[in-house]
């Protein structure tokens, strides 16, 4: 199978590329970030997904399957540019899939699609709409990209589309929303709140993507593994100190004194949980996680012992 990975320079995309290569598949990738240590078997094109050069990759490589991981969160890019990357990029991917007869497209989305709030239920299923988007407008472009990808299910009936809403990812790369949030010595919290966080080891995410490519399930799927944990437990297991601050003080303190940078809307996700039910996906592709929630945190903490750097490298969550 010929697989094209959009956003190939992210940690999970690289793992997926290497696994596919090992299994004898042909792999190519597109990313504006270079992957200098890419093995010779992987074609990496350092181009913008929205430009003509990216379409040329589709035309020449003629992939059977495309994995679209080239979306960004508000941690990485702010304002209009994020909107253009997430929506423009997703639109380009599906347009090229249609034009170049791609058989299967996997959209890698996020579980934060569902939103968080005091009256939002735990364990969202795939048929729920997004909630509380008004409180976290920086998520709207990712939600729109997810919905645009999902409408390919009826708009492009010849293309098998898998829309994955993956929970937070964590692992030795330290990438992703949760990894970035936990990198520093201290974890900021909203005073009086301790939401559940649900996460999957990055190796398990790569495995879930591989199974999706192999089984080609059509539809929208939540992807998660082990049970969620309260944020205080996550911080404690990672050897981090928690700093509970009143909501107004937290909004002022973020990004200062070694605390991670978050958009003001993200504070909502430090008060209320986003937890998904992944039963349908597990059944559809036979996925089961290899790392439980504690092993996953330990693996992250070994790579980023307490006192590590706070970075903003997150590309996928």
């Amino acid at each position: 199978m010929k697989v094209l990975i959009c956003g190939i320079s992210g940690a999970i995309a690289r793992k997926l590329a290497l696994t596919l290569l090992e299994k004898g598949h042909q792999v190519a990738g597109i990313d504006v970030r270079p992957w200098r240590s890419a093995p010779p078997g992987v074609e990496v094109h350092t181009v913008d997904l929205r430009k003509r050069a990216a379409e040329d990759v589709f035309r020449k490589f003629r992939p059977n399957a495309v994995v679209h991981m080239a979306t960004v969160t508000s941690l990485v890019v702010s304002g209009e540019e994020r909107y253009r990357i997430n929506l423009g990029g997703t639109q380009a991917v599906f347009e090229h899939c249609r034009a170049y007869d791609v058989e299967h497209c996997v959209f890698v989305g996020r579980h934060t699609y569902y939103g968080a709030g005091p009256d939002v239920a735990l364990y969202h299923t795939e048929n729920e709409p997004p909630h509380a988007l008004g409180k976290f407008p920086e998520l709207s472009d990712l939600v729109a990209a997810d919905l645009f990808a999902a409408n390919a299910l009826w708009r492009l009936p010849q293309l098998c589309t898998s829309v994955l809403r993956i929970c937070y990812t964590l692992g030795p790369s330290g990438q992703g929303t949760l990894g970035t949030f936990l990198r520093g010595r201290a974890v900021p919290m909203v005073f009086g709140f301790d939401p559940l966080f649900q996460f999957l080891h990055e190796d398990d995410v790569a495995q879930a993507l591989l199974l999706t490519l192999e089984k080609r399930p059509r539809g929208v799927f939540n992807v998660a593994g082990p049970q969620p944990l309260p944020l205080t437990n996550v911080a404690r297991e990672a050897g981090r100190m928690t700093i509970p601050l009143p909501e107004f003080a937290l909004a002022l303190a973020l990004g200062r004194g070694g605390l991670p940078s978050l958009s003001s809307g993200a504070v909502q996700h430090l008060k209320y949980p986003v937890v998904i039910d992944a039963k349908v996906f597990k059944k559809a592709v036979g996925f089961d996680h290899r790392y439980d929630e504690l092993e996953t945190i330990r693996d992250f903490a070994r790579a980023f012992p307490s006192g590590g750097q706070t970075g903003t490298h997150g590309m996928t969550s």
């Binding site: 009086g192 301790d194 559940l196 969620p228 944990l229």
Partner: protein, 276 residues
């Protein structure tokens, strides 16, 4: 029935919930929080309110079940005592999981504590998922109108919601009716202040003769009835559902009368001159 006075830790170890290695279950219920919670509410249950429980053997040892009861006034002391009773009186102990009012989850600390002890926000999705996971669900179909009852209305029942019945039919769940008395003696509400409620983010704040809703040590009584099993799909017409709900309501009214009767016979001196 085993000795209900064995330690909280021993009971926690026998609680049949899927805790992970750190004592947290998939809903975020935490053994550490339960320990503190039951130490406090166990004291209230056994000593401060000396709750007398009858018929708790009607609660299944395992599997899905719905405890349906009345609010006896004041704040939801009755709910807290039923949760404590399910943990302290049953063997193996069970965690009754109530449906908390939505405003609670928006309040600092209350949000965390209710979540850590399994009292999730009152949403149909939560209720259905808990039953499908074979948990013990506790519902007060009178809702906030039930806790707002004044002292003089303490033995009455206000309108019941019907959602619990549709859910019981859909999930084929037995209903264990319960009648609770004593809450209004502990917190005799003479008025409800909506203005104070607005200030603290609640629908109202009960006002007592001593102003604050601090409970005094009034004896409480709870009677559980035999399981009621209704058959259907949950998609029945409203008149069918209302008829079933009325059956449950009538059974709860009987249990309240029985609880009043047994409490009358208790020799303990009752505040406010005894039951009327």
């Amino acid at each position: 029935m085993s000795d209900s006075h064995d330690s909280i830790d021993a009971r926690l170890d026998r609680l049949e919930l899927p805790f992970n290695a750190r004592g947290v279950d998939p809903y975020g219920i935490s053994k550490d929080h339960l320990r503190t919670w039951f130490k406090f509410f166990g004291f209230l249950y056994r000593t401060y309110f000396s709750v007398h429980s009858h018929g708790h053997e009607n609660i299944p040892k395992r599997g899905r079940a719905m405890l349906i009861g009345n609010h006896s006034g004041g704040v939801a002391l009755d709910g807290a005592m039923v949760v404590a009773g399910s943990f302290l009186e049953l063997d193996p102990p069970r965690l009754a999981q109530g449906m908390a009012e939505k405003f609670i989850n928006a309040m600092p600390f209350a949000s965390t504590w209710t979540s850590r002890v399994g009292q999730l926000t009152g949403l149909p999705e939560h209720a259905q998922r808990l039953l499908e996971d074979d948990r013990l669900l506790m519902v007060f179909p009178e809702g906030a109108k039930g806790t707002a009852k004044l002292y003089k209305e303490r033995y009455s029942l206000v309108d019941f919601g019907t959602g619990f019945m549709r859910l019981a039919l859909k999930t084929k769940t037995p209903i264990i009716p319960l009648g609770f008395v004593g809450g209004a003696d502990a917190i005799p509400t003479i008025a409800n202040s909506k203005l104070l409620g607005k200030l603290v983010g609640a629908p109202y704040v009960p006002i007592t003769p001593w102003l604050l809703a601090l409970p005094r040590p009034a004896p409480c009584e709870v009677h559980y009835g035999a399981p009621l099993i209704f058959s259907g799909t949950g998609n029945e017409d409203d008149e069918v559902i209302v008829r079933y709900v009325d059956e449950v309501k009538a059974r709860i009214a009987e249990l309240i009368e029985r609880a009043r009767d047994t409490r009358r016979k208790r020799k303990k001196l009752l505040p406010l001159g005894g039951d009327k």
